[in-house]
């Protein structure tokens, strides 16, 4: 959620029971402003919170002008001091897939994972137990990346793509009408499109290249559900593989 509209967004997203206490909210507002100034981001989004055993991580993301460019991720333990996280790579993903369990809340904590590795010693091949250390920071990065790829959703029309390539926020976007908001096809994944090139020419002919340049939610398995949030009728979309992620 945008730093500017943080309070309002928090109210609307409160249906799932997760919220922020007033002190956190206040400190977030302040610190995100400072982050935006220091790192010269175009937009700073409060991504969310990851619960840990000892402490919780608060995550924010900074975007530059081009909305689809890789984002910088920052984390903080107390909503005041933010540290930059390294960008996610595929190796990290593989490495951290073996770690299970909760986050501890201590970024310097290292998970130990014993692996059997084959070691070639001359002609002999024997297996050795190697203890691999995985830092919690790495795990954090890859989890955030996974969640983003799976779950971050944006309504159709909120972003548009210019012919030069960069993607901009659509300032004339007024929101989706009620009938459109009920359809899954009016929501897109906010990440590099993967399925777009697999569409047939017929389907592509119906698309508007400036608005429909991302994967739609329609063909996802398991199917996302949209349900009415609060009384005002805002629609929330709990993403199933990550049940705590709501849009």
């Amino acid at each position: 959620m945008d730093a500017e509209s943080l309070l309002l967004s928090l109210e609307l997203a409160s249906g799932s029971g997760q919220g922020l206490s007033p002190d956190r909210r206040a400190s977030l507002l302040t610190s995100l402003m400072l982050v935006k100034r220091d790192y010269r981001y175009d937009r700073v989004l409060f991504w969310g919170r990851i619960l840990g055993l000892v402490a919780d991580y608060y995550i924010a993301q900074g975007l530059s002008e081009d909305q689809l460019a890789p984002r910088k991720t920052l984390y903080s333990l107390n909503c005041m001091e933010w540290s930059l996280l390294p960008p996610a790579t595929d190796e990290m993903m593989v490495q951290t897939s073996v770690v299970k369990g909760r986050f501890t809340g201590d970024p310097s904590h290292e998970y130990e994972h014993t692996e059997l590795q084959k070691v070639n010693d001359g002609e002999k091949v024997f297996e050795e137990e190697v203890v691999v250390q995985i830092k919690e920071e790495t795990r954090l990065v890859s989890i955030i990346d996974q969640i983003d790829k799976a779950v971050s959703v944006i309504p159709r029309g909120a972003l548009f793509k210019t012919p030069f390539g960069p993607v901009h926020v659509n300032r004339t976007f007024e929101g989706l009408s009620l009938s459109q908001a009920k359809k899954l096809s009016s929501y897109f994944h906010f990440r590099e499109p993967v399925e777009l090139k697999n569409k047939t020419l017929l389907e592509k002919a119906d698309l508007d290249p400036s608005l429909d340049f991302l994967d739609s939610l329609e063909h996802d398995i398991p199917k996302a559900e949209i349900h009415r949030g609060s009384i005002q009728g805002n629609w929330q979309d709990p993403a199933l593989p990550w049940p705590a992620a709501m849009t």
């Binding site: 109210e11 409160s14 249906g15 799932s16 029971g17 997760q18 919220g19 922020l20 206490s21 007033p22 002190d23 956190r24 619960l51 055993l53 000892v54 107390n78 299970k100 369990g101 909760r102 009408s177 009620l178 009938s179 559900e225 349900h227 009415r228 609060s230 009384i231 005002q232 009728g233 709990p238 199933l240 049940p243």
Partner: protein, 724 residues
């Protein structure tokens, strides 16, 4: 349009069979009604008349139903589809009756009476019919709904009522065929054509055919080609764009789009918003103070104790902890709970939490009824179940008798279902509290049924998201005994038992428990508030988990809080005489299951993967003097508890599932049961092959030969002996 007197006719169903699926069921009902009706055509008239009248209002009059042409031009009728009007089948049914020899003398008269309608065509029409072209007319009439008023006027019997029709159905001079003059776009959706009586001219008939074909509605929607073309042409004529031919396609598209996205009038309500309006209406009722006659008395009554808890205060504290719903929603929940308390005889009430679901969420309220109030419903339920069991018992006995009569006794299966563990009484154990749920504040509260141990046992094995509808089936393996309401109740029971905690000392055991010795291992199950509780400092609450205790009974693996030996015979079983069977099988020893006693501290909870099952936090590290101690469950994500001073509360907001580090794997199906014991009497013997048979034969012959040789030798020996 003239409806020939409907007569029950076996051929009537034929044309109806040609109808396409667009005919509504209503029409088929009408169709069905008419044939079995009185054979006398007269009596059927009122029915027709009614139908006609209704359609009359819808129909517009047109001109130029010309006479029927000869059969040649009628073949396209086969292609004619239904119209939206209702008379279609009426026409079809009625025409065969014409064949039955309607006195032709009737024909000319009504026409003249009808006024303004061409007559001669009908006369020839009828003649043609009598020449055996009834079928043709069936189809014809099926095509046109509208000829009704005119044709109906034909028959003197119907004259009196149909005069009205014909009068109102004045199809004036049939002007140019320009639809734009006759139709306005807003009417197009609702009407079909009314055409006049056809006159027997082939060309005009062909026109009617074509029109009827164009009026065929599309499969996808209610729009027919005719209407769409009318729209399009109207639009073009109104706008008069330059070079319309080149932009014809886009015009076509926009016309179609506009049909389905009507531009809203500023004066008309937006129908899309009705959902939110309804919701607001429902919630308005919540905010109205109940009861008329407000006065000071009412205020005083309300100020005294009410069962509704102070939700706003709880919400405030939870908000400090970073948990909970927005204050707006909390207030609505508060008002909804107030409504619940007014409706039901409730002694204590608590907001238990919110369970999220795929299409909707559940707000759960935990209540306790006043003494004696809930017995009524329980008894009804019990009677039903008892009745069911009795009939089942009878069924079993009868079945057994039948089996004995059969000469070949079918081997009885040795599998017996595991004994059903009785559910706990109300107000005790898992059923200590009653739960009411609703989807949104403002909707009516539904009571959840009591939970049975079987349901809890099954709920432990499955993991399914809630959909938000209480009657949704829970499809899973092992099959869950119940629907979503039962699954919800089972999860609520598990969550409550696992995560309802309180600061140490808030509750204590009562001192009047005299039979503690007898219950012994079962442990105590009641507690009461400690009046002397002074509160534990927040910092201590956060530091040590030993300062918190469970105040709900642990659920045993059996599914109950107090253990029950499932092999104990109940009275019913003894009546059925199964006691002998069980004695024969041998009593299995079942160990009593013991769980941690009530009021055990959290520090004794089992760990998950080397992590503590609870996490404690101070709500605000910047101001520890005023912060709240928050405890969060790691086993059931979404369960929170806060405590400050003498106040504490539990809440659950989540999906209703336990935390597991691995992904959920459903249990595998059980091993395949043995059908029968293998034994030689059942095993199939393979027939000997030819070689084996031959070998056996050879061996036998050989044996025989050797036996003979031996005999010969013996004989020889004997002879020799004899010789000697």
């Amino acid at each position: 349009m003239g409806d020939p007197p409907p007569a029950p006719d076996p051929s009537a169903p034929q044309p109806s069979s040609r109808r396409s699926s667009q005919v509504s069921e209503q029409r088929s009902q009408e169709r069905a009604q008419l044939p079995p009706a009185v054979p006398d055509g007269v009596q059927q008239m009122p029915l027709d008349a009614q139908v006609l009248r209704s359609s009359q209002e819808i129909l517009e009059s047109q001109a130029n139903l010309q006479s029927w042409s000869q059969g040649a031009s009628l073949s396209p009728y086969e292609q004619l589809a239904m119209f939206q009007a209702e008379e279609a089948q009426l026409g079809g049914m009625e025409y065969p009756s014409l064949n039955t020899g309607f006195p032709s003398e009737f024909l000319p008269q009504p026409y003249l009476d009808g006024g303004g309608i061409q007559v001669p065509g009908n006369a020839s029409l009828m003649q043609q019919l009598q020449h055996g072209r009834g079928n043709v007319f069936q189809e014809l009439e099926s095509a046109y709904q509208e000829p009704r008023p005119d044709l109906l006027g034909q028959f003197s019997m119907y004259q009196r009522e149909d005069l009205q029709f014909s009068a109102s159905a004045q199809h004036g001079p049939y002007m140019s065929d320009d639809p734009a003059l006759q139709f306005s776009p807003s009417e197009l959706g609702f009407m079909s054509f009314s055409m006049q009586v056809p006159e027997p001219e082939p060309r005009e008939l062909a026109v009617q055919n074509a029109k009827a074909y164009l009026l065929q509605t599309s499969v996808n929607c209610n729009l027919s080609l005719y209407e769409h073309l009318v729209n399009l042409l109207t639009k073009i004529l109104n706008q008069r764009p330059e070079d319309p031919l080149s932009i014809l396609e886009s015009l076509n598209r926009t016309a179609q789009w506009e049909w389905f996205h009507p531009k809203l009038d500023t004066l008309r309500d937006d129908p899309e918003m009705q959902l939110t309006y309804e919701m607001a209406e429902r919630q308005k009722a919540l905010f109205v103070r109940g009861g008329s006659g407000e006065g000071e008395q009412d205020m005083e009554e309300e100020v005294t104790e009410t069962a509704v808890p102070n939700i706003m205060e709880t919400a405030f504290y939870f908000e400090q902890a970073g948990v909970g719903l927005s204050s707006d929603e909390s207030f609505r929940i508060f008002v909804a709970l107030k409504q619940l308390v007014e409706q039901q005889p409730i002694r204590t009430c608590r907001f238990w939490g919110k369970i999220l679901g795929l299409s909707g969420s559940y707000l759960v309220a935990e209540v306790e009824f006043r003494e004696g109030e809930e017995e009524v419903e329980e008894e009804e339920v019990e009677e039903l179940t008892e009745g069911g069991e009795a009939t089942e018992a009878h069924g079993e006995e009868e079945g057994e008798e039948d089996e004995e009569k059969v000469t070949d006794v079918i081997p009885k299966p040795t599998w017996k279902p595991p004994p059903v563990i009785p559910k706990e009484e109300s107000r005790s154990g898992t059923n200590k509290f009653l739960y009411f749920v609703c989807n949104e504040p403002g909707r009516p509260w539904t009571r959840l049924p009591h939970v049975t141990p079987a349901q809890i046992v099954h709920a432990r094995k499955i993991k399914k998201f809630f959909t938000g509808r209480l009657d949704a089936p829970v499809i899973s393996y092992p099959p869950f005994p119940g629907n979503e309401a039962n699954y919800l109740r089972a999860q609520i029971a598990r969550i409550s038992a696992a995560t309802h905690i309180s600061p140490l000392g808030f509750y204590q055991f009562g001192e009047e428990e005299g039979d503690e010795e007898e219950e012994g291992r079962a442990g105590r199950d009641t507690y009461e508030e400690n009046a002397d509780f002074e509160g534990i400092p927040v910092l201590e609450l956060v530091d040590s988990l030993a300062n918190w205790v469970h105040h709900r009974q642990h659920i045993l693996p059996q599914g109950r809080c107090t253990w029950v030996n499932p092999l104990q015979k109940t009275e019913e079983e003894e009546e059925l005489g199964e006691e002998e069977e069980k004695a024969d099988e041998g009593v299995e020893e079942v160990e009593q299951e013991i769980g941690p006693p009530l009021l055990t501290p959290l520090s004794e909870d089992a760990e998950i993967l080397h992590t503590s099952p609870w996490t404690t936090r101070l709500s605000c590290s910047l101001c520890p003097q005023y912060s709240v101690a928050v405890v969060r469950s790691n086993l059931w994500p979404g369960a929170y508890a806060y405590a400050i001073g003498k106040k504490f509360e539990n809440i659950y907001i989540g999906w209703g599932h336990k935390y597991s580090p691995e992904n959920f794997n459903p249990s595998l199906p059980g091993p395949i049961q043995h059908e029968y014991p293998s034994g030689p009497e059942i095993m199939e013997m393979s027939d000997p092959t030819v070689e084996e048979e031959q070998a056996l034969k050879a061996a036998q012959e050989h044996a025989l030969a050797t036996a003979e040789e031996e005999e010969e030798e013996e004989d020889e020996d004997e002879d020799e002996d004899a010789d000697d």
